[in-house]
Symmetry: C2
Subunit: 351 residues, 2 copies
């Protein structure tokens, strides 16, 4: 019996928020940001390998990262790395993936998941994905995993769902990054979930929804119907893909489609969006520091210290700091001011 | 007329107090510690070139630093680099230098000076040295430059001199590193100077004093009398020098000899002994920071920031810090605790 279940891992992001560890040449997904000896993309890939065979995993990335993907996932067939020639946000990316999978297997059902998030409760996560595969294989629905919120975070999108029996709930509404009061009311109401950008659908259903809600994307990419999954695919994509509109799948599809459902999931998820979120996520030492590398710490607390490899780092007398020492830059910054890092780096680049 | 005036620049020190910028492989004298584009040894050499010809300058260093000396002073004849095979402190070093110079010119008068100090008032300094050359060329005296003290520093040695007419004063007593009360009384009395380790004497006078006060050193090094200033010199020194006692010229000669004189000198001198002394010495920016490199400073004051070359350094929210980023180590340390750095580095090495 053919295995109709596939995974598409999205790995084209530039991860500008983890500067200076992440750079455009080496975005976050390729970093061992957790200090476990494996990059985030490797951890994501190994997680999905437990429920789908190697040949059913696709990586969708920008052309410039193809070699890095191959280096981090050497056992993945090279043809499973889909290369975007331009950055056009997630909607064209999902449509392209769906067309490639339809060409491989017209009954394909697939997960679309980020390559740079972390999931602590792996068993719970994989169970939810299995459920989603089954539901999406049998029904014309678009599924998004909804994360049980643990705090009134104002940096995430929220999903409001309809109370109902069973694991799968109909989505009523998406709300992007609410203010704090709104986020608190969402949390109190109990019928909101975080939108983690982890989707499950059949190729048929998502392409039908694209046809209805974003026909301009389908029109451009459908022209290469006969090229997908053949040696001609890359040449077609190189020519056509940059002409698609740059738009997110949330905006193009999810907020418009009527058949969107969610599966509430308590899976220990973090998008690791900032140094502060990484600090919050990691285990601390007895003085509440997270230190990676050859570090000597004196009289220092609540800090995230990421030393340069093979280099001795000595830190004394700091509280609540981020210290990141990379070959291209050294950052010594209060954790409480980290939202200014991205702005500052942009200013410096623009100079 | 032969030029009898010579300079011997001492460049064998390991400068462990400027860690991590200075290391045993690259001690302080080879660093551009002032951020002017030239190493301290280069600055010292160029200073003396204004009053003695190139061929009359010797560098006395450890064998392992010979190549670095030649690299920093490419116009210096290679035979002017005297190489100690072992670290035996300054007395054997001065005796060896004097014997080499005597072999070159029996009327040699020479300065012995550290390679890693800084002198702001160069004209005043060179005038004092000229005076010292004249006095030491005509009299059997041992001269040491005495620095007019500007603060009750407890890290320096003090010279007490006898009030007298003229520029040259007889030395009554040397006192090593006094406590603060004593240092204050020295400063108030007006007849104390700092001992900077800058000496002037004739080869004849200093060797006569060695014969009287440190005969064991003369006995060992005098055996090579016929080898000095010949191709056999290094082989002799390699064999004999390590057998000399390790002792400072201050202790072996200056504290015992009866013909020690000093020339009070106001020359803007600093031995640059610590990061703090470098900070004190350097010009500050409008927020009282000293920053070398490509540095972005926010809300940071009274700090010394030495960035790694070609690397961006971003520092925010610190006061009174030393930040030194070298390839082998990164130091982030309160300036007020800098005396602990040396101890800490020693502990780490001993592990």
């Amino acid at each position: 019996m053919a295995n109709n279940n596939y995974v598409a891992i999205m790995a084209g992001g530039v991860g500008s928020r983890f500067w200076p560890a992440s750079t455009e040449n080496r975005p976050k997904q390729f970093l061992d940001i957790l200090g476990v000896g494996k990059s985030l993309i490797r951890l994501t890939y190994e997680r999905f390998l437990k429920i789908v065979p190697n040949e059913n995993i696709l990586i969708v990335t920008n052309k410039v990262y193809k070699a890095q993907v191959a280096e981090h996932l050497p056992e993945l067939p090279l043809e499973n790395i889909l290369c975007e020639p331009s950055r056009n946000n997630t909607a064209p990316c999902v449509a392209y993936t769906a067309m490639r999978l339809r060409a491989m297997n017209e009954n394909a059902v697939f997960v679309t998941a980020p390559s740079d998030h972390v999931i602590l409760k792996e068993d719970a996560f994989l169970e939810k994905i299995q459920t989603a595969f089954e539901v999406a294989g049998k029904n014309d629905v678009l599924l998004t995993l909804g994360i049980t919120p643990t705090r009134p975070d104002t940096g995430y999108g929220y999903i409001r769902y309809e109370a109902a029996e069973g694991e799968v709930k109909k989505v009523r509404q998406f709300t992007e990054k609410p203010d704090l009061e709104t986020a608190k009311s969402f949390l109190a109401s109990g019928d909101y979930l975080w939108n983690a950008g982890i989707f499950v659908w059949s190729a048929k259903s998502i392409l039908a929804s694209f046809g209805k809600n974003a026909p301009e994307i389908v029109e451009i990419l459908e022209a290469g119907k006969d090229a997908y999954n053949t040696p001609d695919e890359q040449a077609f994509v190189d020519e056509a893909y940059p002409r698609t509109p740059s738009i997110s799948v949330d905006y193009a599809i999810m907020e418009k489609a009527q058949n969107v459902h969610t599966i509430p999931s308590d899976i220990g998820w973090s998008d690791l969006g900032t140094w502060g979120s990484l600090y919050a996520f990691r285990d601390k030492d007895e003085t509440s520091n997270v230190a990676d590398g050859k570090i000597v710490i004196q009289d220092t607390t609540n800090s995230l210290i990421r030393g340069n490899k093979d280099k001795l780092t000595i830190v004394r007398g700091l509280d609540d700091y981020i210290i990141v020492d990379e070959d291209n830059a050294l950052l010594i910054y209060p954790k409480s001011a980290e939202q200014e890092i991205k702005k500052l780096v942009k200013q410096l680049k623009d100079q």
